[in-house]
């Protein structure tokens, strides 16, 4: 092992020591005390439940049920938010005129429209996708607006002086300059979408990982409940890590600091 590897190990290892120690401690303490609870499971039982869920493919089916409404809702809500955000970012007058409407409608908690979408669509993918679209629309709009508004005005001035048509000012100057921050907005929006999807499934929609978790809990299978929780943590973490890596790949390390 080279010096670099040892350094990396010294940095990464302590962070994994504590969780590992906690898992071992929990296993030991629960075995010795012989505690019986409908809400607790031995870490070894949780691992076994996770393995069996992975083996029979159930967990992948549930994941697809959660990801499908995200794949429908994020493009819809995100695209509308992106378009309006670009418009408001380019035009300060439009941004000022929309100020009150944004302040009035943005604070609607996405979970508050769960019952409304249930009333309109019933249960299923459409209802969940509608909530996700609504939840993604606002952060995408606001972050895109701020990203485009903070593009150096001199870039636009130069483009105008050089006689670049308005359309090209937007597509060749403003949007590329704002692209790294818009991508960060997309990454954060996807994180929100996953949270909203799981929350909707826990609260109302009997599909996906969220429902799998709560139904495992209610049917007194804490090992499966925690197994789904561990899986969700892995999915959420790898989604974020993958998008951060993609950000670095697309825009280089220089803009990577802003992405963190």
């Amino acid at each position: 092992m080279s010096r670099k590897h040892i350094d990396l190990l010294a940095r990464v290892l302590p962070g994994w020591l504590l969780p590992a120690a906690l898992v071992v401690l929990a296993e030991g303490a629960m075995r010795i005390s012989g505690i019986q609870s409908d809400g607790l499971a031995l870490p070894s039982q949780i691992a076994a439940a996770l393995l069996s869920l992975l083996a029979d493919g159930d967990i992948f089916l549930r994941s697809v049920e959660t990801i499908a409404p995200i794949a429908v809702g994020v493009p819809i809500g995100g695209a509308i938010g992106l378009l309006i955000g670009v418009w408001l970012g380019l035009s300060p007058v439009a941004a000022q005129l929309s100020w009150l409407s944004v302040e009035l409608f943005r604070p609607i908690p996405p979970v508050a429209i769960i019952p409304l979408t249930m009333l309109i669509y019933g249960i299923g993918i459409r209802m969940e996708a509608a909530i996700i679209a609504f939840a993604c629309f606002w952060p995408m709009l606001l972050m895109t607006r701020d990203a485009v508004a903070s593009v150096d005005p001199r870039l636009i001035e130069v483009a105008r002086m050089l006689g670049l048509p308005r359309r090209n000012q937007i597509f060749k100057i403003a949007l590329p300059a704002a692209a790294p921050r818009i991508f960060t907005a997309l990454r954060l929006t996807l994180g929100i979408a996953l949270i909203v999807a799981v929350t909707t499934e826990i609260a109302a929609n009997p599909f996906g990982l969220g429902y799998a978790m709560i139904s495992a809990g209610l049917s007194l299978r804490p090992d499966a409940m925690y197994a789904f929780l561990v899986w969700l943590a892995l999915v959420g973490w790898s989604l974020n890590a993958g998008l951060v890596a993609l950000h670095h790949h697309l825009f280089g390390a220089a803009s990577g600091a802003a992405a963190q």
């Binding site: 990464v12 409407s101 409608f105 908690p109 979970v111 508050a112 495992a216 943590a233």
Partner: protein
């Protein structure tokens, strides 16, 4: 256009949204069961607030949210200060906290129900625990990012560790803490509403769920509007706290 013109304009834009809403419902473009007209929505809302129990329900939900938020904030700041001031604890804990952070706070609800049953205190605990992350992580960062030279100065002057935390650490961390508390309050509102929906405890969350299940759409819209008002009030309140806690921000701006 002057600033004053733009303010009036933004009011007109907001009003025109309500006009469009009225027109859409009057021409029956959308069925009234899905979208009742503004008048049909606001009249029962007003009646429910003045004569019915909507005001009580709103206050119950807000109370739960505020208590959860205060618990999360106090616990988050204390724990964050302890972890942030000790480089060893930061090294050990940060990766674990980063792994837990992307977990949806609502996943705590099934666990809370399985462990403690459907009690009001269980819901409060879930709200507090779910909303602690947005405070905890920035606080750790705020206390951890103190200039090392300040550490040296404090040591040479013989400042005790507690005094260092309060006099050097806290002012350094306040902007991070306040920004975190803002996110935390939003999270509290969301977990409160979801928690009320699942556990059917008194509050706006349970009320709008029942309204949707029995197709009482005006009651449903009244509840959604009240929840948005709670959101607007939260934002305004936090603006005030921000200004009170960080008076230097106004001078810079």
């Amino acid at each position: 256009m002057s600033k004053w013109h733009l303010r009036v304009g933004s009011l007109l834009v907001a009003l025109s949204i309500f006009v469009v809403w009225q027109v859409v419902t009057q021409t029956r473009l959308v069925q009234p069961i899905f979208l009742p007209s503004p008048l049909a929505t606001f009249a029962p809302l007003w009646r429910g607030l003045t004569h019915g129990d909507l005001l009580t329900l709103t206050l119950v939900t807000m109370e739960r949210m505020i208590y959860g938020w205060m618990l999360a904030s106090v616990a988050g700041i204390l724990l964050g200060a302890l972890i942030g001031l000790s480089p060893g604890a930061r090294l050990l804990l940060t990766p674990m906290l980063e792994l837990l952070r992307p977990l949806p706070a609502s996943t705590l609800l099934p666990i809370g129900i399985a462990l403690f049953g459907l009690q009001p205190s269980m819901l409060l605990g879930v709200i507090a625990f779910g909303a602690i992350w947005p405070v905890l992580l920035p606080t750790i960062h705020g206390f951890g990012a103190i200039d090392p030279r300040l550490h040296e100065v404090a040591r040479n002057l013989g400042v005790s560790r507690l005094a260092f935390a309060v006099k050097f650490g806290l002012p350094n961390a306040v902007p991070d803490i306040i920004a975190g508390m803002r996110l935390s309050l939003t999270a509290c509102l969301i977990i409160t509403v979801v928690g009320e929906m699942i556990t059917a405890q008194e509050g706006l969350g349970a009320t709008i769920m029942m309204a949707a299940r029995s197709f009482r759409s005006t009651d449903l819209y009244a509840g959604i509007i009240l929840l948005s008002v709670v959101g607007v009030v939260n934002n305004a309140l936090l603006g005030l706290i921000e200004r009170a806690a960080m008076p230097w921000r106004d001078i810079q701006a």
